[in-house]
């Protein structure tokens, strides 16, 4: 039985009011809300996919793509903003060719924008799978990404 079916069956009478908890559980299981999952929920609750997608995008907690191998968090807190986090984000979007919430085609990176991550003295900061990179600039982005790309290559070769 599919993960989604199981979750839907757990809710004895899935209704529109239970939509959010159902979506939360699916995200917990799959890590994201897949199209198939949303359509399946829609069929069960008699809601269109556009409606569920609309509701889900209303809340910031849902993602619609599988996470990448590395999650890049860009801080948009005040300190980072003052030090130019907007241009860092722009550079990342350019380099990765994705929008926040998206995952690169090769599945390596996903990009997220987050509130202050408590390292203001290092602003502007990005965190990659929890590793902080301090004082980043649009120019230093590529180098940082490359270290992760290389890690993947090394790991592959190590196999």
């Amino acid at each position: 039985m599919s993960v989604v079916r199981k979750i839907l069956e757990k809710h004895s009478q899935p209704k529109r009011e239970t939509l959010i908890p159902i979506l939360q559980e699916i995200q917990e299981e799959l890590g994201y809300l897949s199209r198939e999952a949303i359509c399946e929920v829609g069929e069960k609750l008699n809601l269109s996919a556009s409606k569920i997608y609309g509701v889900a995008t209303f809340y910031n907690q849902f993602r619609f793509e599988k996470a990448g191998l590395y999650e890049i968090q860009v801080c948009r807190g005040t300190a980072c903003h003052v030090k130019g986090s907007a241009s860092v984000l722009e550079a990342l979007k350019q380099e990765l060719q994705i929008e926040p919430g998206g995952t690169t085609r090769d599945g390596l990176f996903n990009l997220e924008v987050v509130a202050c991550i408590g390292a203001c003295s290092l602003a502007p900061v990005i965190a990659v799978n929890g590793e902080f990179h301090a004082g980043v600039s649009p120019d230093s982005i590529k180098e940082i990404l490359n270290t992760y790309r290389e890690r993947v290559v090394e790991n592959d070769q190590g196999k």
């Binding site: 199209r35 949303i38 829609g42 269109s48 996919a49 556009s50 409606k51 997608y53 609309g54 995008t57």
Partner: protein, 573 residues
């Protein structure tokens, strides 16, 4: 009746009315954005706010009930300031694109900005920039021009039962879009264009083929022919400032000639042809225990709806192509042979009240040996654009009649333009096909009018047929659910995608209220009551086409040219 005080004046109002209805009924103009006549108020835009004594703050009149003795101010400085601010905020996130916009000169946002004297940008800052979605052959969405009134979302859900679009994201990022932000072409959109009619701005418009046609008309290698659907001649006039319901059939034919079309054909002719095929199909199904109820197939939005939402009803759909496609098919076969011209050199244009027809024309099965039946479809609005482009004065054109061999029509074919019309035409001919006699009561009043669901029983030679007519697909959905639940008294169902039928199609002139739609409908029935030939089987040109080329209804040639098939469609729904 209750009495309320408006701007210091006493007016009478119906108890059941909203404040907005009461005010408008009294001739006071209140601007609205999210309000849709006939649907429940959503109260989202607050454009319609007024002052009500004793109420907490300004109230949205579209969602506020009238109460005896209430005191209302509709144009106080406070009200005007609030409305103006709404417009200024909307414009802050709006591109200054009027010059390049499909709705320039016909845009509610523009008019409101003018009404409130907004003549400069008050709020500056970054605008949201969205991609334009032109993935659909019928509809273009430009979210940059969207004011988030929600009218399209509600029409798509509540009238059409489709729900292809909804509000996405929140706050400053909010927009209207499809599931997963995909192109409209992979969504469940049935291309009906009702959202275009609902939209106050240029955020939704049809995919334009005007340029293609201008090019084709210039091409000396091509023979460009045109057909016009039954509902065009009674609506085109509105684009040129004439009263709704003015029939300009012969003027329009003259104009089409001036534009350079080499032949002008009438889709009502092939509507008659459709009736011969579809009527015969119905009789065949009745006699041979075929799948019933049979459902009409001339409305392409409806066809797509069944294919994606109710594929189990595909066997119920008539296999007849729509009149547009039938005429296209006989143009590139019979007509091409008769004129001794290579069908590849014929460029076949259809003027339609409908945006879904653009999609239908592109369905791969709508052709013969790799040649499409139809090359381009223009809406009524696009035809008006073309006429203006060439600087033609409609009213000074030479009246003209359509061309042989597809120019003659009965008024039954013309009835295809209104909800109930296909049914009425089919009943007239089915009766004849079964009994050999003409129906005495030729007007089937029970299936006339703007009601969204009409049902009646018809007696044909002792067989009682249950027939139903619905328009607006949410109504069709309800009927399909009844049938799924076991309802079995129906034999024949007419479905038109747009509420009221093609006269209110998604390609028709904008800003038509209920009165205008009624006038359009009346015009069609007037044509019918004044006509000498009122049955499809009485159309001599159709008879000739069978005698010279097709053989008989449902025959081999008909089967090859005039019938089609449907398949379950996977879309994001």
């Amino acid at each position: 009746m209750v009495t309320i005080e408006v701007n210091g004046r006493q007016i009478e109002a119906l108890k059941s009315h909203t404040l907005l209805e009461a005010l408008r009924r009294d001739g006071i103009d209140i601007p609205t954005l999210c309000h849709i006549e006939g649907l429940a108020p959503s109260g989202a835009c607050r454009m319609c706010v007024v002052e009500v004594e004793g109420a907490n703050g300004l109230v949205p009149s579209c969602a506020y009930p009238v109460q005896e003795g209430m005191k209302v101010k509709t144009h106080s400085p406070r009200v005007m300031e609030a409305r103006k601010t709404i417009i200024e905020l909307l414009l802050a996130n709006h591109p200054d694109d009027c010059l390049y916009c499909a709705r320039n000169d016909n845009c509610e946002l523009q008019s409101l900005a003018a009404l409130f004297g907004v003549r400069e940008r008050v709020y500056k800052g970054d605008r949201n920039v969205h991609q334009i979605d032109s993935s659909s052959p019928s509809i273009v969405r430009d979210p940059n021009k969207c004011v988030l009134c929600g009218r399209c979302v509600r029409v798509c859900e509540e009238i059409q039962g489709v729900s292809a679009i909804d509000f996405i994201n929140r706050g400053s990022k909010a927009t209207v879009g499809t599931a997963f932000d995909q192109g409209l072409n992979v969504s469940s959109c049935i291309k009906c264009g009702q959202c275009i009619l609902a939209c106050p701005t240029g955020a939704l418009h049809e995919q334009s083929y005007v340029g293609d046609i201008i090019d084709a008309l210039k091409d000396p290698e091509k023979m460009v022919v045109v057909q016009h659907a039954p509902a065009i001649s009674v609506t085109l006039a509105e684009e040129f400032g004439l009263k709704a319901g003015t029939d300009v059939c012969s003027l329009m034919t003259g104009v089409l000639r001036m534009l350079g079309f080499e032949r002008v054909f009438d889709t009502s002719f092939s509507a008659d042809l459709t009736i011969m095929e579809e009527g015969s199909e119905l009789v065949h199904r009745l006699k041979n225990k075929g799948v019933l109820p049979m459902m009409t197939s001339c409305s392409p939005g409806w066809i797509k709806y069944v294919e994606q939402f109710y594929p189990e009803f595909i066997p119920n759909l008539s296999t007849c192509k729509s009149p547009q496609q039938m005429l296209g098919a006989v143009t590139k076969s019979f007509f091409a042979e008769r004129e001794k011209i290579d069908p590849k050199k014929i460029y076949s244009v259809a003027i339609m009240p409908c945006t879904a027809k653009k999609f239908e024309a592109q369905r791969p099965e709508m052709g013969n040996s790799g040649i499409s039946d139809i090359d381009a479809v223009l809406t009524t609005r696009e035809l008006a654009e073309l006429i203006r482009y060439f600087g033609i004065d409609m009213q000074k054109a030479q009246p003209s009649a359509a061309d042989t061999p597809f120019g003659m029509r009965s008024s039954a074919g013309k009835l295809f333009g209104v909800s109930g019309g296909v049914m009425e035409a089919a009943i007239r001919s089915a009766y004849f096909l079964v009994t050999g006699n003409e129906l005495q009561e030729i007007e089937v009043k029970q299936v006339r009018g703007l009601d969204s669901v009409k049902e009646t029983k018809v007696d044909i030679d002792g067989i009682e047929l249950g027939v139903a007519v619905v328009s607006g697909l949410n109504n069709a959905k309800k009927l399909l659910e009844q049938i799924k639940a076991g309802r079995d008294d129906l034999h024949f169902i007419e479905v038109m995608t747009c509420p009221g039928g093609c006269i209110a199609g998604g390609g028709q002139p904008l800003n038509a209220d209920k009165k205008a739609i009624q006038a359009r409908m009346k015009a069609i029935y007037k044509i019918d009551s004044n006509d000498a030939i009122r049955t499809s089987h009485g159309n001599e040109a159709v008879k000739r086409l069978y005698a010279e080329y097709l053989g008989e209804p449902l025959g081999e040639k008909s089967h090859q040219l005039l019938h089609t098939y449907y398949a379950k469609r996977d879309v994001i729904k």
